[in-house]
Symmetry: C2
Subunit: 350 residues, 2 copies
């Protein structure tokens, strides 16, 4: 141990260092599965919550206080850039987002504007600012934004999709318009991530949540090319970049070519296989199936151990789920999960 103050555990793992135990946080850890969150949402709609920095701060801190994760992620939404571009986003009861008007033809891309991020999404920076100051010093705040395919997918489908077939049709039929759209989205994402870094985010995560719908060739063009541009655009000393592209397990080697410090991994393969694909020079984040949190502890515990085992010596591993936590998760299971990952990973380091 050096006498110089150490970086927080989470950041050291992001930079692929050996750590004394495995840091843990969970995607969507601030959310509906927590009674504390539902108590706030009872009186506030989703967008109001996103746009009220003090409430974002409160909600972001809830899981840290309840469960002691090693990192916090700012409460916000991937679709934050869409309204300033000219597409409304509404959340119906029990439904995913609905985007209007959706992009139906090439000329619709020209109707979207390139908003100034600080002017129109400044509330995200403000929320990060307040929250970063409120967090314990050893719990870094993660900022985030969506990658172009995922954002474009919502714009083109007008909602979520199982197959993203309209989006694929658009990419193949209107590649020039798609390139214009993706370029604009990448630039906005870069600015939005920088805004969060300027306000105290100590790591950033790019969510390309649905890009796994593409085949490897299309992924190179519509996924990798833009995440690489984003990673290069936000690169800053000491601030790791995490790229999570769900459903890309078969071509995780391509995903890792984006230059990110950390690659998120879903649950469809053990981390040792993921490691074989991405090589030794990046950290891995994942990869428990959130569905396993819905089962009993005696089945969950060995699943946690399998994740830790597959991470080998644990170097450069951040424990997480392979997707956001489900709203029906029992908070008691989350507490057990966090505690077990802490103690079991420390024990493994001997």
């Amino acid at each position: 141990m050096s006498t110089v103050e150490q970086q927080p555990l989470f950041l050291r793992a992001c930079f692929n260092e050996h750590t004394e135990r495995t840091p843990v946080w969970l995607m969507r850890q601030a959310g509906r599965y927590m009674a504390e969150y539902r108590a706030i949402r009872k009186d506030v709609d989703f967008w109001t919550l996103c746009k009220t920095p003090e409430l974002c701060c409160e909600v972001t801190l809830q899981p840290i206080e309840a469960f002691g994760m090693d990192a916090a992620i700012i409460f916000s939404d991937l679709l934050v850039p869409l309204p300033p571009m000219g597409a409304s986003v509404t959340f119906g009861k029990g439904m995913g987002p609905v985007i209007e008007p959706r992009i139906d033809r090439a000329s619709d891309v020209d109707k979207l504007g390139r908003p100034d991020v600080a002017d129109t999404m400044g509330y995200v920076g403000d929320a990060v600012n307040v929250t970063a100051k409120a967090l314990p010093k050893d719990v870094p705040l993660i900022g985030f934004a969506g990658a172009p395919f995922t954002l474009a997918g919502y714009l083109i489908e007008g909602q979520g999709s199982k197959t993203w077939m309209k989006t694929k049709a658009f990419l193949h039929q209107e590649p020039k318009a798609a390139e214009k759209l993706f370029g604009m989205l990448a630039d906005i994402t870069i600015d939005l991530l920088k805004l969060q870094m300027d306000n105290g985010a100590r790591a950033v995560q790019v969510f390309d949540s649905w890009v796994g719908a593409l085949d490897p060739e299309d992924y190179k063009r519509w996924g990798l090319a833009y995440t690489r541009r984003i990673v290069e655009g936000v690169r800053r000393e000491g601030v790791p970049v995490i790229v999570f592209a769900k459903g890309t397990g078969t071509y995780l080697d391509l995903v890792a070519q984006c230059g990110a410090d950390v690659i998120g991994v879903d649950w469809t393969q053990p981390l040792d296989r993921a490691r074989a694909l991405v090589g030794p020079n990046v950290a891995l984040q994942g990869n428990l199936d959130p569905g396993r949190l819905l089962g009993p502890w005696d089945a969950l515990r060995p699943a946690l151990d399998r994740v830790l085992d597959a991470a080998g010596d644990g170097k450069g591993h951040i424990f997480n789920l392979g997707h956001g936590i489900d709203r029906h998760t029992d908070p008691a299971q989350v507490k057990r999960l966090v505690d077990h990952v802490r103690t079991a990973s420390a024990a493994r380091r001997g």
Copy 2:
């Protein structure tokens, strides 16, 4: 060439033989993208079509007559077993299936019956019988049925799902009831496939369409164990068994352990990678992204060549999509696809 009459091209490829060219058929090749199909559906609802053998025959033959695929697949539906078990299946306008009542708790499994397949699904056998006789001798008819996870998923969710989270919760919370349900579904699927073989199906395909939602450990228990039982249960000299489990590309080696003759591959990895996972002793079926059929020919053609290239010498390769054809596909593209796969694969054999 021997003087003994050769088996049809498609069957020889299923048995992993060298063939003079690559056989081709497309999942959901009889369907809404064809005007001929829509003309029939105009006057007949979906279930009536499924239950009218002469209409099934007509619809099954439509793509063979229009495009000349090397195999036909009987027009039917994965959810055929559900109503005789006691769960109604309705298709709303532009929606997927709705299943009522859904399985909400363990005791709901006991309310489902184990129907006699010949008595309650005899219309599938009749449709196969009529259609097998109507097809050209060199175009084998494929029978099919759903695997337990996929059928159970619809029963538990009450509809399709992006995440199959209710299904996972049920598996983890009620494993005994789930085993009872999966065992019953496997037995029904075995009987349904045998019924089709008895009536002239010369190959059968097991669709485990949504099992890729599981992690590898859960896949072994809730996917592989049952597809293996089904493959063993229907094994018959000269009738190949195809298993298609979309979204399982990261653990295709596990999928291949079911003992099927042919493994279906989705578009998330090239066939040479899939081959490396499954080994040399099974045939592969796939693996074009159906989204590519929505683009122009000058982009589609190189994608077809990439699939053929990745299949190496073409031994034991059946060209197909990695999922069902999209309803917005231009039939002219399907014609070009079939023609190109025929000529380009023959040219590759020299």
